[in-house]
């Protein structure tokens, strides 16, 4: 007699197949507990995650038996998970704020510059910080006013919760509630696509991402900020004002595997990866001083 529940759904061959699959699933499920290897979990910024993911792969390759799991969910998740011990290391796409420095210790692994972008056909070559503020507040709404075409400005803003938004607002001393956005975007790619498709748009994205897409022929251009050209070089040498450090955060002084991985992520061995992800490497010594600076 077959049990009614089993024969309810499947005839015998199909049933056996599924049971077999379920059984092997159970087996693999049980077998995993035995892997006594060391494991590191990182969570946080979706901007940092692809970079750390690649660094982790190289680290795993060089250190067999070690597993590094990278999760995302945003910078605030990174801080929360590191604080709760759900993650060994948090990832944030900004520096630590003053009030966070008591709880966390930060390690800069790369830098990301945020550049203002407009469509390639836009004749405007530069806009002052004050003009950016006026445009984002909605007080200036036509390109004429800043020396451009007779056309309305499409203001592109980032969605709430993005660290790019925070950095942008902080630099220009804006409140998000003051911003009169026409389009709200989530990520760099979406921002680039929006501006590339709209000759009258003004937005802001990672310089690395913008440079890459410009090289790929995307019809956008980067505007200087405070008269400093938006390039990876100016971000690297620290002269570009609108940039952010990509930071690993921990709650306790790093030791063992955690420390080793952070050192690795800051070392020259991963600079090629950092560049490949369109970010700007910081030299080991520079990272050191910066983390010291934040600690002080």
């Amino acid at each position: 007699m077959t049990h009614p529940f089993q024969s309810l759904f499947l005839n015998s061959t199909r049933r056996n197949l599924l049971l077999g699959m379920g059984f092997s699933l159970l087996l693999t499920a049980c077998s995993s507990g035995s892997s006594a290897d060391q494991k590191l979990t990182l969570t946080g910024s979706s901007t940092v995650a692809p970079l750390i993911g690649e660094i982790a792969k190289r680290y795993e390759a060089e250190n067999p038996g070690i597993r590094i799991d990278v999760q995302t969910g945003g910078s605030s998740r990174g801080l929360a998970d590191a604080s709760q011990g759900l993650a060994d290391i948090g990832m944030i796409s900004r520096g630590l704020k003053a009030e966070e420095e008591g709880e966390f210790q930060g390690f800069v692994i790369a830098k990301d510059g945020i550049g203002l972008i407009v469509h390639g056909d836009n004749p405007v070559q530069a806009i002052s910080d004050q003009q950016v503020v006026d445009i984002y507040k909605g007080e200036v709404d036509a390109w004429q006013a800043v020396g451009g075409n007779n056309a309305p400005i499409t203001v592109v803003n980032k969605a709430e919760g993005r660290s790019t938004l925070e950095l942008f607002l902080k630099y220009f001393e804006l409140e998000n509630s003051e911003v009169q956005a026409d389009v709200v975007i989530g990520d760099n790619q979406q921002g680039i696509k929006t501006v590339a498709g709209n000759p009258n748009a003004l937005g802001y994205v990672s310089i690395g991402a913008a440079e890459y897409d410009i090289a790929q022929g995307s019809p956008i251009k980067l505007l200087p900020v405070d008269k400093i050209a938006a390039t990876t070089e100016t971000v690297q040498d620290g002269s570009f004002p609108l940039s952010r450090p990509l930071t690993l955060v921990v709650t306790e002084p790093p030791m063992g595997l955690t420390q080793d991985f952070i050192n690795f992520a800051q070392s020259e061995q991963v600079h090629d990866i950092v560049r490949a992800q369109n970010f700007v490497p910081v030299s080991s010594s520079l990272a050191q001083t910066q983390s010291e600076a934040t600690a002080n």
Partner: protein
């Protein structure tokens, strides 16, 4: 008298319906063509069988496919028995208590409309943290099961309700057992509803990102077991198109694979159901 005056009205309705239908189909075809156009070049045996590299810009999607399959397997092996069981209970056994069924049904309808991010946060709080399953395929699959269950139950229940009462009366008047009737008569007749539920559920599960990013996670390594974190196709596509500059081509390739996979799974489901329905 009424016929001539109602005729043009009918025609307008028909035109409106046809226009809407054509628009919807055209939009769908545009999206499909776009994905085909951009994704077809990516598609190769290589793409399906190699590991992702350089944040997904290079390499293939083999680990992503395995993770997706495992997540779906966990999801379905929990949600199908539970969902069909609940639907059977609601449609066949809870008839004497319409108030209770109505209450359950209303709750399910509300649940079915809850945004997936809410399920994601629930899964994160419950499976990942509370039950200590961590970021794992198991957490992701179980979260998806919670999300898919209301859809599955409602569709399956509709399937059972659509079964003519004559079958139930006929079976009872032959003195057939409830289980026998269920297996041999009701289940095959309710199969169309079950398949609709399954197809909708799989579709929702495969397209899901918000509920998975917090549960099954982002790790694109080949999973060793369901306890490992694994990145689903949908999250891979989302990440490639949103967070990885230059990941667009691979995103299209992955999207094409996702669509093909959905088509294959859905036709397989209907095929199995059809065979079952014919009593073969």
């Amino acid at each position: 008298m009424q016929t001539p005056s109602s005729k043009p009205g009918l025609d307008w309705a028909a035109i409106a319906i046809w226009t809407i239908a054509t628009l919807i189909t055209a939009t769908f075809c545009c999206i499909l063509l776009d994905i085909l156009w951009h994704g077809l070049g990516q598609l190769s045996w290589e793409f399906l069988t190699t590991a992702p590299a350089n944040a997904g810009r290079d390499g293939g999607i083999n680990s992503i496919l395995v993770s997706t399959g495992l997540i779906l397997l966990v999801c379905l092996s929990v949600s199908i028995p539970l969902g069909v069981g609940t639907a059977i209970f609601l449609a066949e056994f809870a008839r004497g208590n319409p108030q209770f069924s109505r209450w359950v049904r209303r709750s399910l309808d509300i649940l079915a409309g809850v945004p997936s991010i809410v399920f994601g946060l629930f899964g994160y709080a419950f499976f990942v943290q509370r039950l200590g399953l961590g970021f794992s395929i198991l957490s992701g699959g179980l979260t998806l099961a919670c999300m898919v269950l209301p859809i599955l139950i409602r569709a399956a229940e509709e399937g059972f309700r659509a079964v003519p009462d004559g079958y139930r009366l006929g079976a009872a008047s032959l003195g057939l057992s409830r289980w026998g009737t269920l297996q041999q008569v009701l289940l095959p007749s309710a199969m169309p509803g079950l398949v609709v539920g399954l197809v909708l559920g799989i579709g929702r599960a495969m397209a899901e990102t918000a509920a998975l990013i917090f549960t099954s996670g982002y790790v694109d390594r080949m999973p060793g077991s369901v306890w490992d974190s694994g990145r689903s196709l949908s999250i891979h596509i989302f990440d490639l198109s949103m967070n990885v500059p230059g990941g667009e081509q691979q995103a299209y390739g992955s999207a094409l694979v996702l669509i093909l996979l959905l088509i294959v799974i859905n036709s397989f489901a209907s095929w199995v159901a059809q065979r079952y329905q014919l009593g073969l």
